[in-house]
Symmetry: C2
Subunit: 346 residues, 2 copies
């Protein structure tokens, strides 16, 4: 590899895939992961970018994921398409199920993809955006590990439980949001701890369930949900629909199984897909996608941002300049390429 700090998305995908395959993942697992990691890096989402490569290999080294799993598609006969990830990463399972989900959604107007028995690694925006590429709208959700207390509660029970939505836009980047149902991600609290700052109020409780602004106490206690009891209700809904309903782990079960938050969590995922053309029926009010543009333009027109605007700006920059990695990031990838799984601390 040339020793530059800028690479095209394709080159970086190949590089990351080589590192992961060298570390012991099957080539299909490695490639599916690399595509998601590079999409994150390309979009300026550092939290799902190349720094995650080591964590993936750490999870593999600890025996908490099957590196050679082959996802099995069960298309069934209703509105539910199912992929058994076989203990592998979620990404290849999603890619395995996507064509069947798209086909079923076009046939029925509405369909669901259930992913079971996966180690979850993905920003959900990547998946709902994939649906919009087929002209479909989508909702994705999954549990995590139990680090969040329900509103009015004192103990970690819920996960950071992300909720994502995508809507196709004619001739442009889709409307996509993807957020944790906790006030912030756990990594954010870790950043406060490292820099010795106090947390804003309302982010967390300590191990005794008392409100705290001390990051150390917060990490030993529980995070809180966004929007108080409303966010807590949505987070609980995600545990029910994308945990118990799909016959997979809740966030507490995921943490019990793993015993730590050091590795990527194992649980399922639920994705709902909608065909706007089918839902619009006769379409007497006009094309649903065109009518949506009026709404979205009115949001931007009054000076508000659309949720993924920052990502799309970073994406355009990456398209122009390539993906720029810091010296440190590049050095770390080179090291992992050289040392393989032996260079990863468990």
């Amino acid at each position: 590899m040339p020793n530059t700090s800028s690479m095209t998305p394709n080159a970086l995908t190949g590089f990351v895939s080589d590192i992961l395959a060298g570390g012991g993942l099957s080539r299909p697992q490695a490639e599916a992961l690399a595509r998601v990691i590079v999409a994150g890096e390309r979009d300026g989402c550092k939290s799902h970018g190349v720094y995650r490569v080591e964590g993936i290999l750490r999870t593999l080294k600890a025996g908490k994921v099957r590196g050679d799993a082959v996802p099995v598609l069960q298309t069934g006969d209703g509105a539910i398409v199912r992929v058994d990830a076989g203990g592998g990463f979620s990404n290849l399972a999603f890619e395995t199920g996507l064509p069947a989900l798209v086909e079923r959604t076009r046939t029925l107007g509405l369909a669901a993809l259930v992913i079971n028995d996966c180690t979850h690694f993905s920003a959900l925006w990547h998946e709902v955006e994939a649906l919009t590429g087929h002209g479909l709208a989508g909702i994705a959700m999954c549990p995590s590990y139990a680090t969040v207390a329900p509103a009015g509660g004192v103990e970690p029970l819920l996960g950071t439980n992300p909720f994502a939505f995508g809507w196709p836009r004619p001739g442009g980047a889709p409307y996509v949001f993807d957020f944790a149902t906790s006030v912030v991600a756990r990594g954010e609290i870790e950043l406060y701890r490292r820099s010795g700052r106090e947390l804003p109020e309302g982010w967390a409780v300590d191990a005794q369930g008392r409100p705290t602004t001390d990051p150390e106490a917060a990490l030993a206690g529980a995070m809180l949900t966004f929007g108080s009891y409303k966010g807590s209700a949505i987070s609980t809904m995600i545990e029910l629909l994308a945990g118990t309903m799909i016959d997979d782990f809740t966030s507490r079960e995921a943490l019990d199984w793993l015993g730590t938050t050091k590795y990527a969590p194992k649980h399922g995922e639920l994705i709902l897909a909608f065909d706007p053309k089918r839902f619009a029926g006769a379409g007497s009010k006009g094309n649903p996608l065109d009518r949506a543009e009026i709404l979205l333009d009115a949001i931007v027109g009054q000076g508000a941002r659309l949720p993924s605007q920052r990502r799309y700006t970073a994406r355009a920059r990456s398209a122009e300049n390539g993906i720029v990695l810091s010296e440190q990031e590049r050095a770390e990838l080179d090291r992992l390429m050289r040392e393989g799984i032996a260079g990863v601390t468990e």
Copy 2:
């Protein structure tokens, strides 16, 4: 009618139905509305209780709803069941579509009910709770009229856009939540205005888009969404899925059509239904409803409330003592019974 302040739910349903039918609604429309109003009153939800009777008749008198509409069911052949409410109230349309939605969900595992061209009157909890009565989980959502600014914005564009979820619990009241995606309902700000109190910060902006704690300025401006940009994203999703996608009004279009917030709004509604047994597949981790109990018990076990607990407590009280109306409430119903639509100011 005996002049007592307590009535059984059935007696009150009959009374409210008589008032609405006397005011000009067809008997089926009147009965469907009465069931929802009395359920609200029974559960201590005054905001959807008997005080709404006059508003319903006012909307009818203004010619903004068809009192004799007969909803038309189109079952189609996919996962989408559709009811054209024919310009009548949403409630009879929902009752018309419910059996087909339940049947389709049992067949496919997942299905949707689209209600079009209705004047919307309902707490959505009533509808998701109806689904749980059939052992199904459900999500319901709809726009409203544009009174809420998107996060970072300055003008009313979104509605208070309610989002509701229901999950069946074996041998007990279901897990149900139903909330506005605005910080509070508009009526709450009206209460602050009447009592001359300042609003908490973060509830609203004035007509120039500046943050305000003055209720008067807030009512002339726009409300804000719960949970900042996350609530705003969910509210926007509701406009897209339950507005443009289903070929019905967005909140702005609903307000444009009506020209006022004085009458009940006209728009559509989207209800998703899930069959947990179908989603659980082989169910290797156990019955999904039983596993959900572990989660819900863990919420209550740490001292947190479940979302509808207050309603269920009020419901138990009503079952014991009947539904208790104040003298004023009772007198108002008696007056509307006597005077009919003539006694309603437009």
